[in-house]
């Protein structure tokens, strides 16, 4: 049963069943704030001759945000103008007060005056300029008002000025005195007013359609480019709800609300908003038949496609597939190749999530070129390159492909894709073990000015590519022993990608990995062990691998071996070659730790073959180091020295500091071992060069603070000095060794047998 007091006067203004929110065709209307702006403009024109250049520039810069932004209270407007030009602020204020305290005819007169600004023979304002358009909008809107509306505007203006005065009045007057006088009455009133006042705070006036559009586009671009600068999810949602309350037909607001819900991972409200948006969009689509698209069918397809994207985002792959199938079917029925192309790309993404395949992708790339969709095409190329790189295709071809797609990007100014491409290059160089190249690419991206920076003023800096590059940068720094720099970068990442944002997991993983490495270097295995859980949560394979390493370091060989074997099988199945090689290396290490060098050899050779095949140079040289070590132990140091020459160069060029130290240490060992058969004079030479190499190793180890290795090196050096009869140097080394040895627990493995 309808409520007793229902409004019977409301007119839903419908034609053909479609309610037009904007029946008057006005996107803007006059509010007291707008009148204040009009006054400002007029005063500006009047006194423009007398203003200084600086003041004028400031005011001009102020104008645009004022014209586009939401209405603000008079005090704030006053402050804003005052900052640029106090004189003008006073003038505007007094004029506004004059109108408000006057009569209706003053306001009428004012609007008559405004139009003079551009109707003179030599107008101060051009009709088509931003300001001119604003003026004309306002005058038009004012002229359309009926008498009662004009009167309402006038009272609103009075209210506007009055509110301002009240505020300043309360600030200045003596609070105590007022309270003492009418404490009781006022208290009661305030108590009652509280809920209402809160409500007022939240909706500081409705936005006009123009203001709303501006607000939405601004927030949307912030969400895309720099999430931290956008409103917080809660307050943005509040604004949106407010907006929708005043105009439920404003479909774009629903879309922004969808984006906003995605931010906080709210599957329910994001689905709701997305569907609501498309329900609304279908209508506007039906109206705009004139512009070539076949009505709302188009938005239906994209609705289904977006739904698929949503489910994919939340990891509901099966649901996403169903939605995608639907989108594909509808797109096929209406021969929309462009939409189909989008679907195909999504299909690829989904397939990748479920199982690997790049047939679809190749197909997608060629087709995208055919339909002239450069964005999709190069996105496809990039995915393809990624996949090929992991599958071990020739590096030069991949780089060629990336270069070609880069050409395409620059041609079409696809700045986003340029970023991705550079990030991808960084990652690929890292994969190949060329840290200097990776470093260079990372720096390129960071110091490159985004194309869009020119017109928006905000850099696109919360995209995934930035996160990737920064993470790599952090890790590279950590590898070189610059831990403060690495933690600085991580701190920056934390600020830029707050923990609940989409790409936060990336830096979380890298952060933990770096901490893990440090803990391992310091020999704090329990700390490393506690980090494993965190790593596993973010990346299970990596986590298991790290767990095995910790076990290995704690001398729990059989557990480590079991874990590594399992991991090996799994990685071989999912074709994660990089991890396979790392695991093989670890297994080999386990073998030689148990003094089974002969068993380690085939494993190492397998690793070497794999890393060569996939051109993972860094892993290859590490394998060679391991191989050389095994040869050394097996008693063929000459052979070991021979192959070491192969590996030492890339290690010194691109390796982590720790690896460099290990390599130099190993070289020295081999030199000593092979010197055994030399003539005494040659032997002395060899030993001296070994000492030099050991010195180098020592500096490397010192950099990453590896005390254990440092101790070993010192011991070795002392022995060498002893052989050469240099007592003083020997004693010095021995003393240093002694100091370190007291701090550290004894190593389980005999000194000479350890390589790492």
């Amino acid at each position: 049963m309808a409520s007793v007091h229902e409004s019977l006067y409301f007119n839903p203004m419908m034609t053909n069943g479609v309610v037009h929110a904007n029946v008057f065709g006005i996107k803007d209307w006059v509010t007291p704030y707008k009148m204040a702006l009009l006054l400002l403009l007029r005063e500006l024109v009047r006194v423009s001759e007398q203003l200084g250049l600086l003041e004028r520039r400031r005011l001009n810069r102020l104008l645009l945000p004022l014209l586009q932004g939401p209405d603000m209270p008079l005090s704030r407007l006053h402050k804003a103008i005052e900052e640029s030009c106090p004189r003008l602020a006073r003038a505007v204020h007094s004029r506004l007060k004059f109108i408000a305290e006057g009569q209706l005819k003053d306001m009428e007169q004012f609007f008559d005056d405004v139009s003079v600004l551009f109707t003179r023979t030599e107008p101060e304002v051009h009709k088509t300029s931003v300001v001119g358009l604003f003026l004309r909008h306002m005058i038009l809107a004012y002229n359309k008002l009926s008498f009662s509306q004009v009167y309402k505007l006038f009272t609103a203006l009075q209210q506007y000025v009055e509110n301002d005065e009240k505020k300043t009045g309360v600030d200045e007057s003596d609070m105590e005195l007022m309270n003492a006088e009418e404490l009781e009455g006022k208290m009661e009133k305030e108590e009652l007013d509280v809920p209402l006042r809160e409500e007022e705070m939240s909706c500081n006036g409705p936005l006009s359609q123009k203001q709303a559009e501006y607000f939405l586009s601004q927030q949307a671009s912030l969400l895309k480019n720099d999430e931290t600068k956008a409103l917080t999810p809660a307050s943005l949602q509040k604004e949106l709800n407010n907006l929708l309350k005043f105009n439920p037909d404003f479909a774009e607001a629903h879309y922004l609300s969808y984006l906003n819900s995605l931010r906080v991972q709210d599957v329910f409200s994001s689905t709701h908003s997305l569907l609501h948006y498309f329900d609304r969009l279908i209508l506007t689509g039906a109206e705009s038949k004139s512009n070539g698209d076949e009505g709302y069918g188009r938005s239906l397809r994209y609705a289904a496609l977006n739904l698929a994207a949503l489910h994919c985002r939340f990891g509901h792959y099966q649901q996403a597939e169903l939605a995608l199938q639907e989108a594909i079917r509808i797109a096929q029925e209406s021969n929309d190749h462009v939409c189909l192309q989008h679907c195909l790309s999504w299909l690829y993404i989904l397939e990748q999530k479920i199982f690997d395949s790049c047939v679809l992708l190749e197909h997608s790339v060629t087709k995208s070129f055919h339909f002239g969709l450069p964005y999709l095409a190069s996105l496809g190329i990039q995915s393809l390159v990624q996949q090929r790189a992991l599958a071990g295709n020739a590096a030069n071809k991949l780089m060629d492909a990336l270069k070609d797609s880069d050409l395409l990007h620059w041609k079409h100014s696809l700045s986003e894709l340029i970023d991705i491409s550079i990030a991808q290059k960084t990652a690929i160089w890292r994969l190949y073990g060329r840290s200097t190249m990776a470093l260079q690419q990372a720096q390129t991206l960071l110091s490159m000015n985004s194309l869009e920076a020119v017109n928006v003023g905000v850099q696109q800096n919360n995209t995934e590519s930035f996160a990737v590059v920064l993470c790599h940068l952090a890790e590279l720094h950590a590898e070189q022993g610059y831990f403060p720099a690495a933690s600085e970068i991580l701190k920056h990442l934390k600020e830029r990608f707050p923990p609940n944002s989409q790409h936060a997991q990336l830096w979380m993983l890298f952060d933990q990995k770096i901490q893990f490495e440090r803990a391992m270097n310091d020999g704090r295995y329990h700390v490393a062990d506690s980090l494993v859980a965190g790593i596993t949560a973010l990346n299970s394979i990596e986590g298991v691998y790290r767990k095995a390493i910790v076990l290995k370091a704690q001398n729990q060989m059989s557990e480590a071996h079991k874990l590594l074997q399992k991991l090996l099988i799994h990685c071989q199945k999912i074709k994660n070659t990089e991890m396979v090689i790392s695991v093989l290396l670890s297994i080999a290490e386990l073998y030689w730790r148990s003094s089974c060098h002969t068993i380690a050899l085939p494993v190492l050779l397998q690793a070497l073959a794999l890393s060569r095949e996939y051109s993972l140079q860094y892993l290859a040289s590490e394998t060679v180091l391991n191989l050389a070590f095994s040869q050394l132990i097996l008693g063929i140091p000459e052979q070991a020295l021979n192959i070491l020459h192969m590996a030492i160069e890339p290690v010194l060029a691109h390796g982590a500091v720790l690896d460099k130290g290990c390599a130099m240490f190993l070289v020295a060992k081999c030199q000593v071992a092979s010197a055994a058969s030399y003539t005494p004079q040659k032997k002395t030479e060899a030993l001296e060069s070994a000492i030099l190499n050991l010195n180098e190793a020592k500096t490397y180890f010192a950099k990453v603070d590896c005390k254990e290795q440092l101790r070993d090196v010192l011991y070795f050096q002392a022995r060498l000095f002893h052989t050469l009869g240099k007592t003083q140097e020997r004693n010095k080394c021995a003393m240093l060794f002694r100091q370190l040895h007291q701090d550290l627990p004894a190593h389980g493995v005999p000194l000479i047998n350890a390589f790492k």
Partner: protein, 582 residues
């Protein structure tokens, strides 16, 4: 107040009740509360007339009343002429309860009227939602002062509650309405407002309501609102038994209740009865027309439309009836036009949005239909028909996955409505999600299938999945269902069921059952030939196998597994179809 006398909740003394009703009707009218007055008078009319000696005396005038009498009389006439500000002006100093109420009420109505006027005349479309009744805040402050000082009578409390509700202070409003009901239980308006604020059964449980006979009316009404139809019907029945059998209000409520549980025949007969008693009634006639529409009773609907149009053509209900009439005649444009007119008369009239959506669907104007449904949802989020309609629209647009969301919403709102479940099942079937689909059909059957199609669909699914035993069981159940219905509706699928069963029994070598089913098949045109062929085959094989075995177990008509689980459950929670989808 004088209401303390009606303490007991019984209906033993109908005369006393009648007296109370008459007096409250008079007092409501004095305060300009027309609807409550009307309700009380209607109910009083249903009771036996009182002899002259027992007629309630006019309420005694107090000193204050006498002092305010002139102002009151003047203001009341202004009030009746809708000159609220003027009425308020002349009442401003009055102290008596009656005059004070009228004073506040005029101010309230004046604010409302101005608000409505301004909605049309606002500065811009976006400002529309912002127009408020400016008087509300002042009224609230003044009334709350009086409330604290305990100076408000039942009517005053009611007005305070209304003001609070308009300010969206729901919790406070409920408290005040409950208080109003305690102070003056006879005032139906307070009860009605309470009905609008209570959203579920739990809330109802925690209200402390006065124990009077009015409470019975309230409970019955709110049960209807909360879709607790059985309870509502019980209450109404007991009210009729208590002596209100002639009340048109109760009769109409019962009819609406039957309509809500889709007991169409009963609802129709009650409405016909109602129209005989109260031929010029317009309220609830839209529901009546919905029923006529469902039964495709063209002449009756046309008669009703003509009749109502003669009475008052500018009523929401009239427009709705005419819309239904045109819709039944397949003149959908005209139907939509009339629903639009209904909305112009009252934009918060929810049913019209949904009905308009249906019309646009018929006209294949899907975008307008979606718009209409969305509006309906905006007015009331719990309108399951609009969600269902949206689902249907997208289903027509061949987007089965997309429409799942909408059907699911509808299902959540009405967990035991089989139509949504069948629709969900069909969508899942289209998406090849047969497991989910089976769940839906089974649940649809379990909650009491209206269209009796769920079982057939379930059986066909089982058939597809080669689960012949389950399929057979479903068919058996289906046939039992069809034949247990007293009226034998011509069902297309019966023949399919018999054919499948015949073949199934044939495969299981249960010759007796197989031949029985095959014979049934012969009764239908489309399966006659197959039935005959099967009978012949059975005969042959029987002659061969006569010697082999006759000891196969008795027929499995109605297997235990099925009959044990088929008790239709009332009030079930929504089906948890898929954990990830909202």
């Amino acid at each position: 107040m004088a209401t303390a006398g009606l303490g007991s909740g019984g209906f033993s003394d109908l005369r006393e009740i009648k007296k109370q009703l008459l007096s409250v009707a008079e007092r409501s009218r004095e305060r300009g509360l027309q609807h409550s007055g009307k309700w009380a008078s209607e109910l009083a009319f249903a009771l036996e007339p009182l002899p002259l000696s027992e007629l309630p005396p006019p309420p005694a005038l107090t000193e204050e009343d006498a002092r305010d009498l002139d102002a009151y009389t003047l203001a009341k006439s202004y009030f009746d002429l809708k000159e609220y500000d003027r009425a308020a002006y002349f009442l401003r100093g009055c102290k008596s309860q009656k005059a004070y109420f009228l004073y506040m009420y005029s101010r309230y109505l004046s604010g409302e009227k101005k608000k409505d006027d301004e909605t049309v005349d606002s500065l811009g479309p976006l400002e529309k939602g912002q127009v408020k009744n400016e008087a509300l805040r002042e009224l609230r402050v003044e009334l709350s002062k009086k409330h604290k000082a305990q100076e408000l009578d039942g009517f005053g409390l009611y007005l305070y509650g209304v003001v609070l509700r308009k300010l969206d202070l729901v919790k406070e409003a409920i408290d005040v309405f409950v208080e109003a009901a305690h102070v003056l239980p006879l005032h139906w308006g307070a009860w009605l407002e309470l009905c609008n604020l209570i959203t579920d059964k739990e809330m109802l449980k925690f209200l402390s309501l006065p124990d009077t006979w009015m409470k019975e009316f309230f409970l019955a009404h709110i049960y209807t609102e909360l879709q607790l139809i059985e309870e509502a019907l019980q209450k109404y029945q007991s009210l009729i038994d208590a002596g209100f059998s002639k009340s048109t209000y109760i009769i109409s409520q019962i009819a609406v209740a039957y309509h809500n549980i889709r007991d169409i025949d009963k609802a129709l007969s009650i409405f016909n009865e109602l129209r005989k008693q109260d031929p010029y009634r317009i309220e609830n006639m839209d529901t009546f027309s919905n029923l006529l529409y469902v039964r495709s009773m063209k002449p009756e609907l046309s008669y009703l439309a003509h009749n109502l149009c003669e009475i008052d053509k500018y009523r929401v209900e009239t427009c709705c009836v005419i819309g239904n009439y045109y819709s039944l005649r397949s003149q959908h444009e005209k139907a939509a036009l009339y629903f639009q007119r209904a909305l112009k008369l009252n934009p918060r009239y929810l049913g019209a949005w949904t009905l308009m959506g249906h019309e646009y669907m018929e006209m294949k104007n899907t975008s307008a239909a979606i718009q209409a449904y969305r509006h309906a949802i905006e007015v009331n989020k719990r309108d399951y028909r609009a969600w269902y309609g949206l689902g249907q629209t997208y289903e027509i647009l061949k987007m089965p996955f997309y429409c799942l969301y909408y059907y699911r919403r509808a299902h959540q709102l009405r967990p035991n409505d089989s139509r949504m479940l069948v629709a969900l099942g069909e969508c899942y079937e289209k998406l090849n999600q047969l497991v989910e689909s089976k769940k839906c059909y089974w649940r649809a059957y379990a909650v009491g299938d209206v269209e009796k199609m769920a079982l057939v669909k379930l059986a066909k699914l089982h058939e597809q999945l080669n689960e012949s035993e389950q399929a057979a069981q479903c068919y058996i159940k289906y046939i039992q269902d069809i034949y247990s219905c007293s009226e034998l509706v011509e069902h297309v699928e019966v023949s399919t069921a018999f054919r499948y069963l015949a073949q199934y029994y044939f495969k299981c070598k249960l010759w007796d059952e197989a031949s029985a089913c095959a014979q049934q098949c012969c009764a239908f045109n489309d399966t006659r030939e197959e039935g005959k062929a099967l009978l012949r085959q059975i005969l042959q094989l029987r002659n061969q196998g006569e010697t082999l075995s006759t000891d196969i177990a008795a027929p499995i008509f109605l297997p235990a597994s099925l009959s044990a689980t088929n008790t239709p459950t009332r009030r079930v929670s929504p089906l948890n179809l898929s954990s990830v989808t909202p």
